[in-house]
């Protein structure tokens, strides 16, 4: 009896060891692939650059060894890209759309390296690609949500970098759908997406003009926006679950970007020798990888205060985007500053 148990344990252990070893046996040479990311800021910003760092970390489970450079200034972009590529990095990422032009300069010299601009909006064959999520779709959902939750029928968004395509998409999507749902949308641009104190002032100024739901697409400054909402007790949307923790009764939802999912699929194919030279945008229409999702907490999409009818309306919107029945393409005019 004892003997047979120990024997089966032994067998199970051998089987487990073999299973564990299997991936390593399957692709022994690939384990040496390297991936790097260049960040415009520091991994500590609790927002955009922290996100870039988490993208890089997620590639470890795809068999990459990783490296990163922080605070890469505009002037240093090409040198930094070149440096990683010439050291044999298979995937070199730039954590902002602004890296695209530097990549276009450098890429022809390193035809085996895949360059990826996070949240860019263009590619260049054969090996420069941009990956982003559909800001217009999620911006639209926030617009509908904000309009439905507003009592004053005035809603507002605070953004940085007027004219950058994904900002135009989200701000414009927000205004289009908020207006459709019967609210007046005001959009305000701040000069620094990292300056929380300035974003808080922007939020307070919008609240003073009657807005009672705030949204925005900012980096470290997003916390300032939530702080303004908290001080004046109005609803707000965030960009991370820790913003829900800052004001659980006021944060309606967050747009949680799923970069690991967007990058994982690409990285696996690059490992197998495929290169990408285009702009890939994920959204409800590219399920199962949708690029982003509305999340209030780990288990819920929306704040429990949001009525079921509104939640249903947002689900219907998502379904319409998924099927292609609903399409929006916000313009600069839709995303203009002001009311």
């Amino acid at each position: 009896m004892t003997n047979s148990i120990s024997r089966s344990c032994w067998r199970a252990a051998v089987a487990a060891a073999l299973l564990a070893a299997l991936p390593a046996i399957a692709r022994p040479a690939l384990a040496e692939d390297k991936a790097a990311i260049l960040l415009p800021g520091s991994i500590n910003d609790q927002s955009w650059n922290a996100l870039g760092y988490s993208i890089l970390q997620s590639l470890k489970s795809h068999g990459f060894t990783t490296a990163y450079s922080e605070n890469v200034s505009d002037a240093d972009e090409t040198e930094a890209l070149r440096d990683y590529a010439s050291h044999g990095y298979l995937v070199v990422m730039g954590h902002s759309g602004r890296f695209v032009s530097a990549m276009q300069q450098v890429a022809p010299d390193f035809p085996k390296t895949q360059f990826i601009a996070v949240s860019g909006n263009e590619g260049m064959a054969p090996n420069v690609m941009s990956i982003d999520w559909n800001n217009a779709q999620f911006g639209c959902q926030l617009g509908t949500l904000a309009a439905r939750m507003s009592k004053t029928h005035k809603v507002a968004g605070v953004y940085g970098l007027e004219g950058v395509p994904n900002i135009t998409a989200q701000a414009g999507g927000f205004r289009i759908c908020a207006t459709k749902a019967g609210a007046q949308a005001t959009i305000l641009y701040v000069s620094d997406m990292e300056d929380a104190a300035a974003a808080k002032e922007a939020g307070l100024s919008l609240i003073a003009q009657g807005a009672d739901v705030l949204t925005g697409k900012l980096n470290a400054a997003e916390a300032g926006l939530v702080e303004a909402a908290k001080q004046k007790h109005v609803f707000v949307t965030g960009r991370g679950l820790d913003q829900t923790k800052m004001a659980p009764d006021l944060v309606l939802t967050n747009i949680i970007e799923d970069w690991p999912a967007m990058f994982g699929a690409t990285a696996d194919q690059v490992k197998q020798g495929k290169l990408f030279g285009s702009f890939v945008m994920y959204g409800y229409n590219t399920a199962p990888v949708t690029g982003a999702a509305l999340r209030y907490s780990d288990g819920a999409a929306l704040n429990p205060l949001v009525p079921a009818s509104v939640a249903k309306e947002l689900q219907d919107e998502a379904a319409a985007f998924a099927s292609g029945a609903l399409k929006i393409t916000p313009t600069r005019e839709d995303a203009r500053g002001g009311s």
């Binding site: 500590n44 305000l188 104190a197 500053g337």
Partner: protein, 303 residues
């Protein structure tokens, strides 16, 4: 309108504290280019102090120390080491940016993991009685503690500079250090102390941003406010109330910029956002000929 003025006061508060510190430094004869770094160190120390201890008061105390540490660095290099004031100040700003970012990781980050600190910002302290006054009450007497401190700082610094022996010695050190030396005081020591005090007070300005307005620290969160404070104290002719007026003008410009956009003016947001800095440049250019620097500012002290 009340709301607009309240915004101007809020935006001006961190600038004013930094400018008050800068006045001490410049009146003693040392250019206060390092204000940005001192503010940043103060903002950082305040956040870490309040976060680790759970006490906002301890956060404020640490802001004084954090700013003073950068002040001491500048004092040692620029005053005792007789290095160029401008270069030293700029280097201190870069040092503070790197150091705070690094220390945030070491203290709060553990294994290099990004961190998130969220503190409840300092609440307003309405002044009983005065806050009941219509319009003016809520505008002037319903602020968080560091805002009152900035105003008290103006009063205190005005008295210090104009009415005390210490103030006289400090001003003399900026105008004619040889005379101070002849009178038996040590101008080197006066300048060292003035720059350290400048750092401590500018550190409080940083604490306004992190503890009072936002409740967290992010890399480089001062975002150039130290330079705006420097401009304010020059525009204000090195006097506390003059600097306060200049800070309010810059605060009003920024508050106006935010509101101008919502009126839907057909101008790019990038242009509108330049307003506060354009005003600063215009005023500085206008003052160029008439503003009189302390005579011995930037001069090395021998001996």
């Amino acid at each position: 309108m009340t709301d607009f003025l309240a915004a101007a006061i809020r935006i001006a508060t961190p600038l004013l504290l930094a400018a008050l510190g800068g006045i001490l430094s410049e009146r003693a004869g040392v250019f206060a280019v390092g204000l940005e770094g001192m503010m940043l160190a103060g903002a950082f120390a305040a956040t870490i102090g309040a976060w680790l201890s759970g006490s906002a008061a301890l956060g404020v105390a640490l802001a004084l120390l954090g700013g003073a540490a950068i002040g001491l660095t500048v004092a040692i290099v620029a005053v005792r080491g007789r290095a160029d004031n401008m270069v030293t100040g700029l280097a201190a700003n870069i040092l503070a940016l790197g150091l705070t970012s690094y220390l945030l990781r070491v203290i709060a980050g553990g294994s290099g993991r990004p961190v998130a600190i969220h503190l409840t910002p300092l609440p307003p302290w309405p002044i009983p009685g005065l806050v009941e006054i219509p319009v003016l009450g809520p505008l002037l007497f319903d602020h968080p503690p560091l805002t009152y401190l900035a105003v008290l700082g103006c009063v205190a610094l005005t008295l210090l500079l104009g009415r005390t022996q210490v103030g006289l010695t400090l001003r003399a050190t900026g105008e004619n250090p040889e005379a101070v030396f002849a009178s038996g005081a040590d101008p080197l020591r006066v300048r060292m102390l003035a720059v350290v005090a400048c750092g401590a007070i500018a550190g409080l300005g940083g604490a306004v941003l992190s503890l009072q307005q936002v409740g967290t620290f992010t890399d480089g969160m001062t975002g150039g406010r130290g330079y705006l404070a420097l401009a304010s104290l020059i525009v204000g002719r090195w006097t506390p109330w003059g600097a306060a007026a200049a800070c309010l003008v810059f605060g009003a410009a920024e508050a106006f910029e935010l509101r101008l956009q919502t009126f839907g003016v057909p101008v790019s947001s990038y242009i509108v956002q330049m307003a506060p800095y354009l005003i600063a440049l215009a005023v500085l250019a206008g003052l160029g000929r008439t503003s009189r620097l302390p005579a011995a500012i930037g001069q090395r002290l021998d001996g």
